[in-house]
Amino acid sequence: MNLELFVLLLSSFITLTLGLLVFSRDWRPTTNKIYAVLSLVIVAWMSSSYFTDHGWSMSSKLVFAKMAFYIGFFTIVVFYSFTWFFPSYTLPRLITRISLYLTILVLLIITFSNGVVKSITPGNGATIVNPGKLYWIFILGIVYVFVLVLVNLISSYKREIGTEKNRVLYLLIGSGVAAAWGILTNAILPAFFPNWHTPAYDSFGVVFLTAMVMAAIIKHKLFDIRLIVARSIGYTLTLSSIALLYIAPAIVITGHLFNTPLKTNSVITLIVVTFIAAVIFQPIRNRFNKISSKLFYRDFYEPQEVLDKLGTLLVGISDINKIIDGSTDILMSAIKPQFIEFILINDDTTNERKDKHKEIISKLSKLKFNTLVSDELQNHKEMYDYLHSNNIALIVKLRTSKEDLGYMLFGYKQSGILYNSNDEKLLGIAADEIAITLQNALHFREIQNFNITLQQKIEDATHQLRQANTKLKQLDETKDDFISMASHQLRTPLSVIKGYVKMVSMGDAGNVNKQQKEFLNQALISSENMVRLVTELLNVSRITSGKFTLEKNEVNLADVVESEITQLSNLAEAKGIVLRYRKPDDFPILKLDEEKTRQVIANFIDNAIHYAKPKNAKIFVELSSEDDIIFKVIDNGIGVPSSEKQHLFSKFYRAKNAKEVRPDGTGVGIYLAKVVIQEQGGELIFQSKEGSGSTFGFKFNKKDLL
């Protein structure tokens, strides 16, 4: 064994192990496949280098020398192709790839002709390589590919973010170190030490690169380089110390005891073996621990595993039954008791079991404990007996910082072994986690219930509102029906009054003198007013209930206006008001509802009379048909205050000043006027100034009515 062989074996071993590690983890990704290839290529290269020096013949050494050069170059190519897939897939441009293939081809040809390696000469335990004329092309080729690698890595580094960036960083560092090492051993050191033998030591740089690549592949999490370095140093020192502590005494003792000093080879072997032993000690120990535990420890379980599983389960659930069932499954498979039962104090989910263990629950609530092993309860005979008769071996309390939620009851383990402190510890932790999750689930359920209750309440309220609304509608209808009926009932007696008064005034019951006739006339007018009022009320109620209809009669408005004025002239005279009207000639016949339009006209004139100022009151009634049909009543009465103008035409509305002057007004007249006019397609005319007077009227488009 010589140093170089040792170095070769060690490097190869490390490289192949790294390659294997990565490949065994996951052989599917392209990166991992290329990495495996890379490892093999590196080992091939290192072997070629070794056999250049230690081949069996000159011709074989020559072949190995050429191979060493070419495979060395090819390593970089494989590494380059690795960067195409790592960390993300970025195929270089076609031109670049073509140039790469060309380079590979060219270098292959010149290397295996004698262009690169002209010849070899045996040297001091090593072969000296004599470069050929085309050596510099070879160097160029290597540099070219290496530049491609760096360019690719640097652009990756710039492009990626986060973890990926770090992984590229590993590669960059690895490449950098390998390149630096390569330059050092191939260019710098040979310049200072002419006998410097290159190929053997090149491998170190490459091994380092390989290690970095592996780290890049495997380390998914962000990892501080400094930490790696620190750990590596610590690890190396540990191993070195162990090795030293072993080797030094070994050498000294053997030297003294056996009088044969250890040969260098033996020492080297010892060092290597010690290192290997130190490295694989920990993992092997863990493995055997697991196996022996599984064999001897029948109820062995990994607490951390259980808690991990439990944690994963509990994170996603908010349903109480799922929590109980899931936790039961996990704990059953780990600890293997005969049964696990949950009891929740404030919830109905576990009511059956609650009833079963009613007596005990109240006793338990008085005790303070986290976990209770029934076999330890010899002082509480009653409880001890109860638990034993029910085969309950262990009780674990479910509680949070705020309240006790319940208990978990465990039967005896199927293996028959008693619960130990590790079990209790694990169950204690598990119980806490389960308790918190249960509490959340309970709260969640409360909120859900509250939500349901709320919805129910809203529905109830809505239902009540609907009922109230229906009642209101019914009331409204009833009111309208009442008004309707009342109006009818009122009209008949009114007709009778009118009839008889008319008869007397016409002389049907004997002669009447002028004064009598006059008085009776007044009574007649009043009763007619009443009829009109009642009719108005009736119409109002009809409008609301939708039974309001308008006829189309052929009406001469000029006549209508005249007759109404005649009717109201007595009233006006009695109040000392002058009524002026100039009846237009040739007023066209219009299609209007005679009765209702007549009422509107009468209403406007009547209002003007009633709201006139006591002195000097004048009322002008105008009717024209020049452009549009226009009817206007212009007075100088009390007017309408501006604040009340917009409400004036509403049902039952009375302006303040109007109320003072005429307290018995109904507020119905102009509302009806508005409806009648607008329903027939006309427009209301209204202007007023408080204290000066008003103009009320209507306007129709001539063509609409002809």
């Binding site: 009209r491 009778v496 009118k498 008889y500 049907d508 019951a509 009719t535 009736l538 209809t549 009765e595």
Partner: protein, 125 residues
């Protein structure tokens, strides 16, 4: 002597029908009044009026039904009928005219002289 014209008044309201008969008798008519639809047909056949004042709203048999029967009975079909109503429903007017009423008047807005006028017009036809 002028022929005395006979008018039958059919109305369930006592006050109204009394008023009509008073007025008509002052004006020289001979009148009879019945308060429901069932009596109307029999009385018409017996009394043979020259005109009938017929109220629309009556219990049991409505004015329209009476109108229908009278106009479809040979003996009474030719008698002019004036329908009177306390309501003001235009659809009733149409219905009445379709069934053959000669006139359709609203009690509250039509005064006695007008009713008299209409009666005279119809009888003289």
């Amino acid at each position: 002597m002028d022929k005395v014209n006979k008018v039958l008044i059919v109305d369930d309201d006592d006050q109204i029908s009394k008023m009509y008969t008073t007025h008509l008798e002052i004006k020289g008519f001979q009148t009879m009044r019945v308060a429901n639809g069932e009596d109307a047909l029999a009385t018409t056949i017996e009394f043979k009026p020259d005109a009938i004042l017929l109220d629309v709203m009556m219990p049991k048999i409505s004015g329209f039904d009476v109108l229908d029967i009278l106009k479809n009975t040979k003996q009474t079909a030719s008698i002019p009928i004036i329908m009177l109503t306390a309501l003001s429903a235009p659809e009733d007017r149409e219905k009445a005219l379709k069934l053959g009423a000669d006139e359709y008047l609203e009690k509250s807005t039509t005064d006695l002289p007008t009713i008299l006028e209409k009666i005279n017009k119809l009888i003289s036809k």
